[in-house]
Symmetry: C2
Subunit: 355 residues, 2 copies
């Protein structure tokens, strides 16, 4: 059994937190047994897949199963979980151990931010998206009434344990979604790692255990920025590359396209707009398109969906003065924030992108 | 009209924030008009008392009145306010302008912490307690179901405007409550300012405008500690002096004793216990008692209420391993954290204190 301290992340909320790589779930979990202070919050699906490995965590009888669906990423559901924590007699110095993907993380981050003005928590991310991206960076997003991600907080776990065993149960779509998110970090930094990932894509889909090297690269790039701008008020905005266009796509397709693939199309579209506006050379645009195409979902903008899409873009939280706040690319590794008018030019560029 | 930048407070949440002293409400408010980005959240009582002065703030038609009673310091009520903010089409870069006392502050701090992962807010504290204490320090406390202050966050306003006009409408009990809280800061630092305040008490009760010098001293002392320990994990615990014993008193008397007076008794009781345990000299104990007596509420511990009181103490969030976490005094200006057994000695000390 091996446990490697891969990374220490600086934070304003809790000075530092640690990312460990482990090869057995128990290597991480065994740190958190035999003390009354731990309460486990476990994605029910993950528990059903890893009953034997997670047995140790429920032996304490201080655990809560959650159903991690989008409908439960909601303030009402967070309140239900808080009531269960009260039933388990949670105290200010208890520690929550979260085991699950991004939605589990959102719920536990949010609860641990507002309960007793912040309590300690530990995270075992179980999806590729959570392992390569969301596990660091402190953010939570919670839906309120019909408003997606209206609420949120910053509260990183004190320790993160990344175990690649969890990746073995993911389907291809989930792996591709994580790959899309990693590509966004790699193209933020440059071209080489992105190319290496795509060159190995077949092998990685066949054997997800090999993803760990790319997970580490992805977290390394993210760490460099979130340590400078944890609260997302400046340079961290550059990570919205592909996301502004991707989120609007997710919205109009009712979240049927996996997140990482929606942002893959989002990056390609952002690049196309950059190229059309002479910000990005044709050569670099095509070079990146040649990588992104292996993970771009099959979706076309047309006259039937364009107004809907522009409307979704117009609701982005990062917009200012009715302009679209988005990240464009000058070349691989060189991104910049722009505010685009919602004019005919933008509409035509999006339509032309799909021709 | 004068506006004086009295203090700049360092914060991990927002780098710095400012405390201004103003002599007219409008001097502060006039900064925040004629722009769509401001939404006012105003205590209804304060509005009724200062309609003319606050007219400017509601002219924008982006305002919410709140009823600041303990029953509304609740997550459910915060949700109602969030829905009203959504109706007012709040955006991430809008600024909330809160005008009211501690409960208004709790609600607005909490909302501004969780909405869009944190939004900017400005505070006009209108009670002495809010002006001399809670306006700096970043904290919110929100009740959940039947659990008092179970939820909370840290999010200071960007600017605080302290206007002593607000103090003119407070009754003696509210002034005395603020004086109790200030005494706790003064005895944290030493003896002299505490003595000066008590020597001037009659004059201050007659003309609350003279309180401003003491408000500034109180905030100066608090600033020195919260800048070191904003998130209340170390030295800031010393500010619980008088509060552990005071909160339990408030709880068993159903909040009929004003907060600042409950903590005055709390300090006196903490001093008595310190004296009994040879931590504090008799001379210093009596010296402080001689100041505190001018603001101590008329309450006696006896065999009818002691178990109830010990039970309330046993529920304090800062307790550890079934021991009472509390701050005792070694001398004026020298406090220390102790964990006391819930034993016969403690019970007898509390009973003897009232003899």
């Amino acid at each position: 059994m091996s446990k490697k301290l891969q990374m220490i992340v600086k934070s304003k909320v809790r000075d530092i937190y640690n990312v460990f790589l482990i090869d057995e779930i128990n290597t991480g979990l065994s740190t958190y047994v035999n003390q009354k202070k731990y309460i486990y919050i476990i994605d029910e699906n993950v528990y059903n897949l890893f009953k034997e490995e997670l047995k140790i965590s429920i032996s304490s009888e201080r655990y809560i199963f959650i159903k991690s669906c989008e409908e439960n990423k909601q303030l009402d559901y967070a309140q239900l979980v808080i009531r269960k924590l009260i039933d388990l007699q949670i105290r200010k110095d208890d520690v929550l151990i979260a085991i699950g993907g991004g939605i589990t993380q959102d719920i536990v981050t949010f609860i641990s931010s507002i309960l007793f003005r912040g309590i300690d928590w530990v995270f075992f991310p179980t999806t590729l998206l959570a392992q390569c991206d969301s596990c660091i960076g402190s953010k939570s997003s919670i839906n309120f009434d019909n408003f997606k991600n209206l609420l949120g907080t910053f509260n990183p776990p004190s320790n993160i344990f990344i175990c690649n065993k969890f990746l073995l149960t993911l389907n291809e779509s989930e792996i591709r979604s994580g790959i899309g998110e990693m590509m966004h970090y790699f193209l933020f930094e440059g071209y080489d790692i992105a190319e290496r990932l795509i060159n190995n894509m077949t092998m990685l889909l066949q054997n997800p255990l090999n993803l760990q090297e790319f997970i580490v690269e992805s977290l390394r790039i993210k760490k460099g920025i979130i340590e400078q701008d944890e609260f997302d008020i400046g340079i961290r905005h550059l990570f919205n590359y592909g996301h502004t266009f991707g989120h609007a796509l997710e919205s109009i397709t009712k979240y049927q396209i996996p997140h990482g693939q929606a942002i893959t199309l989002g990056m390609d579209l952002a690049n196309y707009i950059s190229f059309q506006r002479n910000i990005l050379s044709k050569k670099d645009y095509l070079k990146m398109k040649n990588l992104l195409k292996y993970n771009t979902p099959d979706f076309k903008f047309n006259h039937n969906n364009i107004e809907n899409y522009l409307n979704a873009l117009s609701k982005d939280k990062k917009n200012k003065d009715n302009k679209l706040g988005c990240i464009l690319s000058k070349e691989p590794g060189d991104l910049q924030k722009f505010y685009l008018d919602f004019d005919l030019q933008l509409k035509n560029e999006i339509l032309q992108y799909s021709l």
